[in-house]
């Protein structure tokens, strides 16, 4: 067995540096090296909760390799101080660092995840995001571009509403430029194609082969920090949601076209196949899947292509995840706790083919590149999650065989004294030319590969 591991590593290591700069696990930037095999860890950006553990935000590392003795266990917790409204995180293009943001305090924590993938370390904290960006508030998506981190914001420091922009940073955490979302008062050269140019922001994705960057829209600080029930009862607050997506010239960072996508378009997932010139989003309030596609004339268009559940009930679709072959789309609906699988082989007519209740509430979904492992987490926002017994906080792993989900393990984030589990990102030793030391025998092999204890390996062999 040990000989086999040595053989495999010997074959793989020379090629690690030659991996094409392709996509990460199905939903991230094409400029990030992807884990096509088994992930070793899941990094969970977790919201601190008063009365739970140390009550502060933290990065929780969970063992994810079934061959390792830490599989399905919490292997590390890094508390970062404060309840920052931990939300999304994103990997740098070299996949050595994980950037994790706080929607409330605007702090961005940069973790080194390559030196010891089992024990991330904070290497930098950006505290002046609102100051240097000219008033952007709520760093949300961290999306790697070559040598850069593109960060969407949700709000501003003037009226705490939804007018906002994107901030571009260098990989070493230095601010470069603010790119404001086009708005009626300053379309910045973009075309307002419909009724709306609200200037709101949320997610960002690119179709690099088409030089297209796409952004979506959510709501401002006053709403996303407010008690969900109070907001639903405030008619004025319910008017303060995004109804737009913006097509950008990716290289020029220039907004080209504002598309009407009413009802809060959130996560964006673009097709991987270069021939598939489209991306998907789901609208949180109107509960629809929308297709953003390049038409025969080369124009980007948006249209609703499917309902998600019964929109009148507001199932509240939140995260979505596209499969690597562009044929499937997971859609999590927060309020009914369901994971729904849509067949999107015809992108103009998605069909739901499967659903499973994962918990009393559900938010994020992350799948492995091969789609066989699907992770779910529970928390939407600190003041939007359900209350009482329905406030389940978890990370769960399921196996997907193409027809049904098969539960593998769950971690109860309240029982573990952690908090609200939000976004999950994967880590793997192979990204850094290392082997998982928690797999039996691997430590010995590593020593052999580094020239240490070579004699022992030979004897064992």
């Amino acid at each position: 067995m040990k000989r086999l591991i040595v053989f495999v590593v010997a074959l793989v290591l020379p090629f690690l540096s030659m991996l094409p700069a392709q996509a990460d696990e199905t939903c991230m930037s094409p400029y990030i090296a992807k884990i096509t095999g088994q992930e070793d860890y899941v990094y969970v950006w977790t919201l601190g909760v008063e009365g739970v553990g140390d009550e502060q935000d933290k990065l929780v590392t969970i063992g994810a390799n079934p061959a390792a003795d830490n599989y399905g266990k919490i292997v590390d917790v890094v508390s970062v101080g404060g309840r920052n409204e931990a939300h999304h995180s994103g990997l740098s293009d070299d996949r050595r660092f994980l950037w994790a943001g706080g929607l409330d305090t605007n702090k961005i924590f940069i973790f080194d995840i390559h030196s010891d993938p089992a024990a991330p370390k904070v290497t930098k904290i950006i505290t002046d995001f609102a100051d240097v960006t000219g008033g952007l508030v709520g760093p949300h998506t961290f999306y790697a571009l070559p040598g850069r981190m593109m960060i969407t914001a949700l709000s501003n420091n003037v009226d705490n509403g939804g007018r906002t922009g994107l901030a571009e940073y260098s990989n070493d955490g230095e601010f470069i430029k603010t790119h404001w979302i086009p708005i009626d008062g300053d379309l910045r050269g973009a075309t307002k194609s419909g009724q709306f140019a609200d200037g709101y922001g949320y997610d960002v994705r690119v179709k690099a082969d088409l030089n297209m960057m796409l952004t979506s829209s959510f709501t401002g600080w006053s709403n996303y920090m407010m008690d969900f029930g109070a907001m639903l009862n405030s008619p004025e607050a319910m008017k303060r949601f995004g109804n737009t997506m913006v097509v950008w010239d990716m290289h020029a960072r220039k907004p080209m076209k504002v598309l009407d996508v009413p009802g809060v378009p959130l996560e964006i997932r673009c097709a991987w196949n270069p021939e598939n010139k489209y991306c998907f989003t789901s609208t949180a309030l109107t509960s629809q899947i929308w297709l953003i596609y390049e038409d025969d004339a080369g124009e980007w268009q948006a249209k609703a292509v499917a309902d998600i559940g019964n929109p009148a009930d507001i199932p509240l679709p939140v995260d979505i995840s596209i499969t690597a072959d562009d044929n499937g789309l997971w859609v999590d609906t927060f309020l009914d706790g369901k994971a729904r699988y849509f067949d999107i082989s015809d992108p103009h007519a998605p069909k739901q083919v499967y659903e499973e209740v994962i918990g009393s509430q559900i938010n994020m979904v992350s799948q492995s590149w091969d789609g066989e492992r699907v992770y779910f987490s529970s928390s939407l926002l600190g003041n939007w999650d359900k209350t009482g017994d329905a406030d389940e906080q978890y990370v769960k792993l399921y196996h997907w065989d193409g027809e049904k989900l098969d539960h593998q393990w769950s971690i109860d984030f309240y029982a573990e004294g952690l908090g609200r589990a939000h976004q999950m990102r994967f880590g793997a030793y192979a990204m850094y030319g290392k082997l998982n030391p928690y797999i039996e025998g691997v430590q010995t092999v590593e020593k052999q590969l580094t020239g240490e204890d070579a004699q022992q390996v030979e004897i064992d062999g």
Binding site: A130, W180, G185, D227
Partner: protein, 458 residues
């Protein structure tokens, strides 16, 4: 039912006052829609009259955005002390505490503090979070305020316009001076959540932006529990707004200043509507206040669970322009942390059972700019408020005797609404332009913050 529109208000105010054509003396602002500033820049006066993220007509499927760019937002500092020296027409002289005479240095310092988000525990909330200048120094966009970490405040943010005259601060009247009042939001756990007064003072002393400013404003005295209050109160005391079309007509005797509808509205206001019983008008000035507390029934209704969640099984919720749904209240409750908006008002302070659900009378000046209305922001429009009082409030054993069914006609209501719109002060653009010029205090790399230092910092 008629829906009040900000744009309609602006238009009405402008037409009534000649705002679009008159040059406002001494401000550096042309009152033209886009006038020249001293610095050669422009200030669109309309941006002073409501949110830049304009949602007028959002209920309709035909809604079109017309939002303003934050990048185009420009301000110009004003000499605010002028309003203290000579209050706008319709306002009395300003009561100034003997121990805190107003100076330009204090006003400037108070303005800096007012917009400084670093004074909160996590550097996210300033006074201006809830008192947004272009939104009537309140918040038009939400019914009840939001504090640090999104903590719920169960009351609507009151306007700061003409707060200089208030004898009782807060809607339950628990404070007696602006100087004292400033510390409560800063240290309230559900507002700015600073852990103590000393924490704030220490923080100010370590933020470079304040170097020497307190000493210059207070004869060498630094930041302390008194001077922070003095400075913030001095700025807020200057937010005086009047010289409205109503003032020019009623006190200035300019018959052309308002429409006939406004004049009829005032007759209803002072007569059949009985509004002037609490919103008083005197022979030489009007604060539209009685400095008293009244039970309108709204607080009572909330306590009995009827007002916020509603007695129906569902609540109508808007999802997008022209798209609504009826959402079950059970579903709303499942994501509500606050199960009750119970608010007993003045009783919280006096513990006198007779004071249950009483709240301080609020001024009507600039009322067209300060939606939503009532102590919890429950009523969205001026017409909603007029209808509420016309029906006699909400019956309860402690309902104010001044509130009873009025029998107003539609014409009466239209006229009353016209009057209320005519109470918008002509210097609103100056006060907002001044606020737009203010520095927003954001955490910088040089400020005290645990992330960059290993000391307690306090």
């Amino acid at each position: 039912m008629f829906k009040w529109r900000k744009s309609r208000v602006v238009k009405a105010v402008a037409l009534a006052t000649g705002l679009l054509t008159a040059i406002l003396f001494g401000s550096g602002i042309s009152a033209q829609t886009s006038g020249s500033l001293d610095a050669g820049e422009t200030f669109d006066v309309e941006q002073a009259f409501g949110p830049g993220d304009i949602k007028d007509g959002y209920e309709s499927a035909d809604y079109q955005t017309q939002s303003r760019s934050l990048l185009s937002r420009r301000g110009i500092k004003q000499d605010l002390i002028q309003y203290i020296v000579k209050p706008p027409l319709g306002l009395p002289s300003v009561p100034i505490p003997e121990d805190n005479p107003v100076t330009r240095e204090k006003i400037d310092l108070g303005r800096l503090l007012f917009f400084d988000r670093r004074l909160s525990i996590n550097n996210t909330v300033s006074c201006a979070n809830c008192h947004i200048p272009e939104q009537g120094f309140t918040n038009n966009e939400i019914s009840t305020a939001v504090g640090v970490e999104g903590r719920l405040v169960i009351r609507n943010s009151p306007t700061l316009y003409n707060a200089a005259y208030l004898k009782h601060l807060f809607l339950d009247g628990r404070e007696i001076s602006l100087e004292n009042q400033v510390w409560q939001p800063m240290t309230a756990r559900n507002e700015m959540a600073a852990p103590s007064i000393g924490y704030v003072i220490n923080k100010i002393n370590r933020i470079g932006d304040y170097d020497g400013l307190f000493e210059a404003a207070f004869d060498g005295r630094g930041a302390d529990i008194a001077t922070v209050g003095f400075a913030l109160a001095s700025y807020q005391r200057t937010l005086l707004s009047a010289d409205s079309p109503f003032d020019r007509w009623y006190f200035g005797k300019d018959e052309s200043a308002v429409s006939e509808s406004v004049k009829r509205g005032f007759a209803v206001f002072a007569g059949k509507g009985q509004c002037a019983v609490c919103h008083q008008v005197h022979h030489d000035h009007a604060l539209f206040l009685d400095h008293k507390f009244h039970n309108t029934g709204i607080g009572y209704a909330v306590s009995t669970g009827e007002a916020m969640i509603g007695s129906n099984q569902t609540t109508r919720v808007q999802l997008a322009p022209g798209i609504f749904t009826e959402l079950s209240n059970e579903k709303i409750k499942s994501v509500s942390r606050i199960k009750s908006f119970n608010d007993l008002g003045l009783y919280r302070i006096t513990e006198n059972p007779a004071d249950r659900w009483k709240f301080r009378t609020q001024t009507l000046r600039n009322i067209a700019l300060t939606a939503p209305y009532m102590h919890n922001g429950q009523l969205a429009t001026l017409r909603d408020v007029i209808d509420f009082y016309d029906q006699g409030g909400i019956s309860n054993e402690l309902l104010s005797p001044f509130i009873r069914p009025l029998g107003l006609t539609d014409q009466d209501k239209d006229d009353l609404e016209a009057l209320l719109i005519a109470l918008t002060g002509t210097n609103v653009p100056q006060l907002v332009a001044d606020a737009f010029a203010a520095q927003i205090g954001e955490l910088s790399i040089d400020d005290p913050n645990w992330a960059h230092e290993n000391t307690l910092g306090y």
